[in-house]
Amino acid sequence: MSPRAVRAADLPDRTIRRRRDAEAIVSAVLIAAFAAFLVLFVLYPMLTVLARSLQDGQGRFVGLANYARYFASPAIAASVTNSLAVAITTTVITVTLAFAYAYALTRTAMPWRGAFRLIALLPLFAPSLVQGIAFVYVFGNNGLLTRWTGVNVGIYGFKGIVAAETFYCFPHAMLLLVAALGAADARLYDAANALGASRVKRFVTVTLPGAKFGLMSACVVVFTTVITDFGIPKVIGGKYSVMATEIYNQVIGQQNFTMGATVSVVLLVPAALAMVVDRLVQRRQQALVAASSVPLRPARARLRDAALFAYTALVAAAILGIYLVVLVSSLVRRWPYDFTPTVKHYAFDTVGGSTAIVNSVQAAALAAVAGTVLAFAGAYLVEKRPSLMSGPLYALAVLPVSIPGMVLGLAYIFTFNAPGSPLNLLYGTLALLAISHLVHYFTVPFLTATTALKQMDRELEHVSASLGVPFYRTFWRITVPVALPSIVAISMYLFLNAMVTLSAAVFLVAPGTELAAVAVLLMDDAGDTAQAAAMSVLIIAVGLGVRLVYALVMRGVTRRTQAWTTAARG
């Protein structure tokens, strides 16, 4: 009996049709809802920006005329080169400083490493412009040092932007580099030692190549953060125009939406390119990490440790100094002239009052809850309920990471403030602000959830189907509890970022929905610098408080889940 060979062409391309039962319908409805969300809040707004950049002010199609006009006007075109100059300079400085800092934290036996690590994370809790404001307080025309020394360093412009961005981006770069340097394989160093390699040679041949992908990721993150940041150039840039402030000037200053859209599309290019590079790098990195590596335990080296301790202490002091300046300036009568203590700046008697901070907390909480549900459920549908939609949905879900906040905000104006559109109902609501937050920061939570889901045996779903248990029951009873640590981490990420984000929100706030980060900008603009500092302090305090609550929640979650996560055999 030799079976007749069957060729692919002999079989029909379609598989046998499945009958749709209630479960399949529930699944299809949920997938459609997730798709509708992504189309409405990601794809459609971005297409609108693209379309507007190809139209004139009256909505007529003009092809690439706007782009030609953009690059023809020297003042505007300079914003492109300025943006690149600032971004590249900051990237080089920040990654170098952060590398040394991360090296000290991971590869030395110096004391206080934990405290230094926490201090370096401080900038994550403040909107970017807070570092700008702090530099103005110290080095600006009426800055503390300027007054004391009588030397005006001319902080407004390139210098100031680079300095403030360096502080703002420092924790992002440091975290990536700590991860890269922390994952070292001790066996490589043993081998290098056995071969008699010198300290310098070990650093160049083992340490640097091992951290290569971490360095590249850090460069990409810093570059993208700087080129898309709006807050710092706004408060310290002076006449030095970059692309993000150019969008703001075109839209808010001159009401020129078409040119705003055009600059937005141009700004998408470097940000998107950097993200593509990062994705490629990360894919290669995954193949590089060996499962069987032996963790490196740093040895004591007196001279090196002392030198790096001094360096780390200096950087940490500078970071603490920035926040001390902001704190003190919010608590004295008139920085830097009158240092009498007062709390009157916390009364917020000008812009919006204290509603801004309440609004910010509400919007951040809404973004955290809705974003966590959407990111986790969305990742579940893409990962565990495969359909024809899985590929496109995944692509749409990872798209937001390459959309600068300014561009997203402008896109939302076009989409939700269009005359006669039913979508206008959302415009000017706190809900739309929360949505803009969660979309802006959607990609990282979505990928975190995807990773957590991928780590779960895919047969769990098949087993529960064979037992006749509907997928949504297993999702609730098994998938969610097992992924709880990731879910908690996702919601914290969304909340903290929503508290400090400015770029999308600046276009979307309306009377009654002022946000704290935007209030800082407006107060600073209006010359109420002390109130701006006070609002910044509140934002940081809320962030730190929430971080503390999360730490406690996480401890509870760990205690509850450790019964089944520890491999201890009784």
Binding site: V6, L11, E23, L460, H462, V463, S466, L467
Partner: protein, 365 residues
């Protein structure tokens, strides 16, 4: 092709596959597979990786959708039904236990949606824990159980709702050898006691021989042979089956002018084939190591040959000799029970008389 067993009664088989075809892109995973599994039977899908056995099981389970053909369970076409409507229990190689539920809750998982009351669920769970000898581990989480224990929980969980079919997807492959042998017997015993129709996928021929009532040997997306373990071992229908199931010596040769004879190297051998073939037609002769007769047993027997010993491997209960037949490149292996030959004559380089009994010498085109 109808490879199913004969129907003993008028009852429909537990599982019936008709002309199943499945492709992934341009790759044909299953050509045209038909077979039937009778009620209460233990059937093994056996084959090398990539032969389509797992795909076939997943089609039965509804986890994969076929491009052509029909799946019936007890006479009912279930091809269009999702997995949850097909009435089977399944055990995977990875155990796939719910990590946040205890052993007892894992087993109860499928019962809770059926609206059973607590007491009935508890009684059923206890009964199953007893069945797989895990009663003391009732409250343990999967991470606190060994691999073998986890797989027994998975088995109990699959059987809890009393499905009419049990599917086992390489259930023993993740376990180490000693546990595997013990669990092999335990699964078989449980299956006997419960009487559930069982289909198991495995690449391990020893596992299939030890456990199955019938074996379906698969290769390249097609069924090569269906039969009892003894059938498949003793009467392989193709060279593939002969080589895949058990040890087999393969000797390339040519058909001789006399029907039932072939030339291998310098010797002419009588085999059990009876078809007349044109002299010189290439054929392959096959004989199992334990069927080769050596020493006294070979004296005066048919197909006697003088072979040279090229290697001796001591394997405990028996010794495996590698022999060279005159003028034949392919080695011939044969197993000798410890002490059967004495020490004399089994040294490398020595010559040894042996016989290849014609009744054991299979011939394949």
């Amino acid at each position: 092709m109808r490879a199913g067993g004969p129907r003993a009664s008028g009852r429909a088989p537990a599982v019936e596959l008709e002309h199943i075809g499945k492709k992934f892109g341009d790759v044909v995973a299953l050509g045209d597979v038909s077979l039937a599994v009778e009620d209460g039977e233990f059937v093994c899908f056996l084959g090398p990786s990539g032969c389509g056995k797992t795909t076939l099981l997943r089609i039965v389970a509804g986890l994969e959708t076929q491009n052509a053909g029909v799946v019936r369970m007890r006479g009912v076409d279930v091809s269009a039904l999702p997995p949850s409507r097909r009435d089977y229990g399944i055990v995977f190689q990875s155990y796939a236990l719910f990590p946040n539920l205890t052993a007892a809750r894992n087993i109860a998982y499928g019962l809770e949606t059926r609206g059973w009351d607590r007491a009935r669920i508890d009684a059923r769970v206890d009964e199953l824990l007893e069945l797989v000898h895990l009663a003391p581990h009732k409250q343990r989480f999967p991470s606190q159980l060994s691999g073998g224990e986890q797989q027994r929980v998975a088995l109990a969980r699959a059987l809890a709702p009393s499905p009419s079919l049990l599917l086992l997807d390489e259930p023993l492959s993740a376990l180490d050898a000693r546990v595997r042998a013990a669990l092999r017997q335990e699964i078989k015993a449980v299956q006997r006691r419960v009487g559930v129709t069982t289909v198991m996928v495995t690449h391990d021929q020893e596992e299939a021989l030890a456990m199955a009532d019938r074996i379906v040997v698969m290769n390249h997306g097609a069924v090569e042979q269906v039969g009892t373990p003894a059938d498949v071992y003793m009467e392989p229908r193709s060279l593939f089956v002969a080589r895949f199931v058990g040890q087999m010596n393969v000797l390339p040769g040519q058909a001789d002018a006399r029907a039932g004879w072939a030339r291998v190297g310098a010797v002419a051998l009588r085999h059990r084939g009876d078809r007349t073939m044109a002299p010189g037609t290439p054929v392959t002769l096959a004989i199992r190591p334990e069927e080769v007769r050596l020493g006294h047993a070979a004296r005066g027997a048919d197909n006697g040959v003088l072979a040279r010993i090229t290697a001796v491997q001591f394997l405990g209960a028996f010794t495996r000799l590698t022999l060279a037949l005159p003028g034949v490149a392919a080695p011939l292996e044969c197993d000798v029970a410890a002490g059967a030959l004495g020490d004399a004559g089994v040294r490398e380089g020595e010559e040894l008389p042996l016989a290849l009994p014609p009744a054991a010498l299979r011939v394949f085109p």
